[in-house]
């Protein structure tokens, strides 16, 4: 497999893990626009340990999860007092503060960034992404997952039913932060270099869009969203020049056309976002859709009704 495709596989796996990290808080009704902050924490923990102490990947990644998760747990208490727009702003501000602190830290390389000696190929991220996916599916099938959905749908009623709302929210936020940290650690080891400019506000925005466009009702959503929006730009990178050539020849323009701007990919992501919000704001993959796609279960349910 060429370096190009193995690179895309790695990015895909990292994005899936990252998307699940944002999915967990969003599934309890908290929009987290600070994903890049937690990812940066994980990436820098892994980079620092690998660069200074030559730790192996097997040791840096757990610590990346731990640090991001603990920080997530600690900021969850004050941040989750906020709701709606305030929560969005609070998480956004958190990411900016993390970026600012790293930028000013000499031990972390400041604006120069840190090299990461330990490299991992696409195998490790893929396996970990599969494990994370299974973990989130398991989590959503437990009582905790049910409670998360309940909190998302109606906080007041869940509270009346005796659900520890704050506990659920903090847990979802902290586990999510840990997953973002893992995505960051993998990022560091895949690209073997970290610089804080790579963890900007646009990264937080993009990953939140992956999750929301994929759908937040089921654990399929982030998987689908992350896969779609990671592969779409690559597909466009291949298809756009041909498309442009075709349009150009349609209008009778002869000869080689200048390659399209890279920015078109973001324009298309933006367009898809706006159109999705208009036509299907609940995301591509919804609970009714997944039910429809499982014929055996539906048959069993129907049979059960007949028997009853």
């Amino acid at each position: 497999m060429g370096g190009y495709w193995s690179g895309i596989l790695s990015i895909l796996a990292i994005n899936v893990i990252f998307a699940y990290g944002i999915f967990l808080p969003v599934a309890t009704g908290q929009l987290n626009l600070g994903g890049a902050g937690f990812q940066a924490l994980g990436a820098y923990v892994a980079a620092y340990l690998s660069y200074n102490y030559d730790w192996p990947v097997g040791a840096t990644l757990p610590l990346a999860i731990l640090v991001a998760g603990v920080v997530g747990f600690l900021v969850a208490f004050p941040i989750l007092r906020l709701r709606g727009v305030y929560l969005v702003l609070g998480t956004f501000a958190f990411a900016e503060v993390v970026a600012g602190l790293i930028l000013n830290s000499e031990t972390l390389g400041g604006a120069m960034g840190l090299p990461v000696p330990a490299f991992v190929d696409y195998g490790v991220p893929i396996v970990l992404a599969a494990l994370v996916t299974l973990f989130v599916f398991f989590l959503m099938s437990t009582r905790f997952g049910l409670v998360m959905r309940a909190v998302h749908d109606d906080e007041v009623v869940s509270d009346l039913m005796g659900v520890d709302i704050r506990g659920v929210k903090v847990a979802a936020f902290a586990i999510g932060a840990g997953l973002c940290g893992l995505a960051g650690g993998l990022y560091a080891h895949t690209f073997t270099y970290v610089e804080i400019q790579a963890f900007n506000a646009l990264v937080s925005i993009n990953v939140l869009l992956f999750v929301l466009l994929g759908g937040t009702q089921t654990a399929f959503g982030p998987l689908f969203g992350a896969a779609f929006f990671t592969l779409l730009p690559e597909a466009l990178r291949i298809l756009l020049p041909d498309l442009q050539q075709a349009v150009a020849s349609l209008f009778g323009i002869k000869g080689e056309v200048r390659a399209p701007d890279d920015s078109w990919r973001f324009v298309i992501l933006g367009l898809v976002t706006v159109l999705m919000m208009v036509f299907r704001p609940e995301g591509l993959v919804t609970r009714p859709l997944t039910e429809k796609l499982r014929p055996r279960r539906r048959a069993r349910l129907a049979g059960g009704e007949v028997a009853a």
């Binding site: 929009l31 004050p78 007092r81 906020l82 709701r83 709606g84 727009v85 305030y86 969005v88 702003l89 609070g90 956004f92 501000a93 958190f94 900016e96 503060v97 970026a99 600012g100 602190l101 930028l103 000013n104 400041g110 604006a111 506000a201 925005i205 939140l208 869009l209 929301l212 701007d261 920015s263 078109w264 973001f266 324009v267 992501l269 933006g270 367009l271 898809v272 976002t273 706006v274 919000m277 208009v278 704001p281």
Partner: protein, 305 residues
């Protein structure tokens, strides 16, 4: 004297943040909608102004326009773009899903518009920052030993006048009453005969106007525009809005000035790299300690906690 000069500089810097922060706070106060296209509208006005003054109309329809005319057209473009955003983020969603203000939908949609507008500008004009061909004369005047740039004074006065007019509009006029009614409760306002679909665009026209003005004032004052100019100003304006209290217009004025002051003083005493930490740390502190902001209890609408 040095300190006084710093103070003057920070007020001048703050006036740009104030204008954008008022646009943010207006949309949040009345529609409970954090409009992420605001920084892009600001950038759009600056870049269009530059393009018209330097290159003239697209497709070679005219030579370079005189810069005041270019800036006027730029503000108009920002207002138009804002109305397009209104059509797709707010009105349509409201028609289909009832009270769209309760959902994150408009916010996510505005993130989509942020990507679209910013990248279209990059495609059209490139990613480099450009020198704005503003007034040639040296416009720095000295007042009692303090150096002040004339355009900056004009912009500060203009900003304060706009905010005062806005505040009067909200308090006294029929449209203002309608807007405040929508802020309290859109459904009740509709039942009581407020034509929401006619009045909500007013908010977006004002947003486009404020952002457009801020963008062209920025271009004149700093003589430089770039597709990324909205990012920094936008985030500082958000910080200013939160410090002042969401939904409070005069709070946004105070907050914008406080952020300008924080930035100037931080650069002065700790260096440029710490600005981000100082400004966002201030924002987090305000969110944790006093989420309603300094003037939050006066805020209009659902933006208040």
């Amino acid at each position: 004297m040095l300190l006084l000069q710093q103070l003057v500089n920070s007020v001048m810097l703050g006036s740009v943040y104030v204008t954008v922060a008022v646009a943010f706070t207006l949309t949040i106060g009345i529609l409970n909608f954090l409009n992420f296209t605001i920084p892009t509208l600001f950038m759009l006005a600056g870049m269009i102004g530059w393009a018209l003054a330097e290159r003239g109309l697209p497709f070679g329809l005219s030579g370079p326009l005189p810069w005041p005319l270019a800036l006027l057209v730029a503000v108009a473009v920002a207002i138009l773009a804002s109305l397009v955003v209104e059509r797709f983020t707010f009105r349509y969603l409201k028609a289909r899903y009832g009270d769209a203000t309760e959902h994150a939908i408009p916010l996510v949609s505005s993130l989509g518009f942020l990507l679209i507008i910013e990248n279209l500008v990059r495609i059209a004009y490139g990613t480099d920052s450009q020198r704005f061909p503003g007034p040639e004369a040296n416009l720095t005047v000295e007042i009692g030993g303090l150096f002040v740039r004339l355009p900056q004074i004009v912009s500060l006065v203009a900003v304060l006048a706009i905010v005062a007019a806005l505040s009067l509009l909200l308090k006294r006029s029929r449209i203002g009453r309608g807007l405040r009614a929508i802020a309290e409760n859109p459904d009740a306002a509709t039942i009581l005969g407020v034509d929401v679909n006619r009045i909500v665009p007013v908010v977006f026209v004002l947003t486009g106007l404020l952002c457009g003005l801020a963008g062209v004032l920025f271009a004149i004052n700093y003589g430089e525009v770039s597709p990324a100019m909205g990012d920094d100003v936008g985030t500082k304006a958000i910080a200013g809005m939160v410090v002042g209290g969401l939904g409070s217009i005069w709070g946004a004025v105070a907050g914008g000035l406080i952020v300008g002051l924080t930035e100037t003083m931080t650069i002065n005493y700790f260096g440029a790299d710490t600005v981000q930490v100082a400004v966002w740390g201030l924002l987090l502190l305000v969110l944790f300690v006093r989420p309603q902001g300094l003037f939050g209890h006066n805020a209009i609408g659902k933006g208040k906690l």
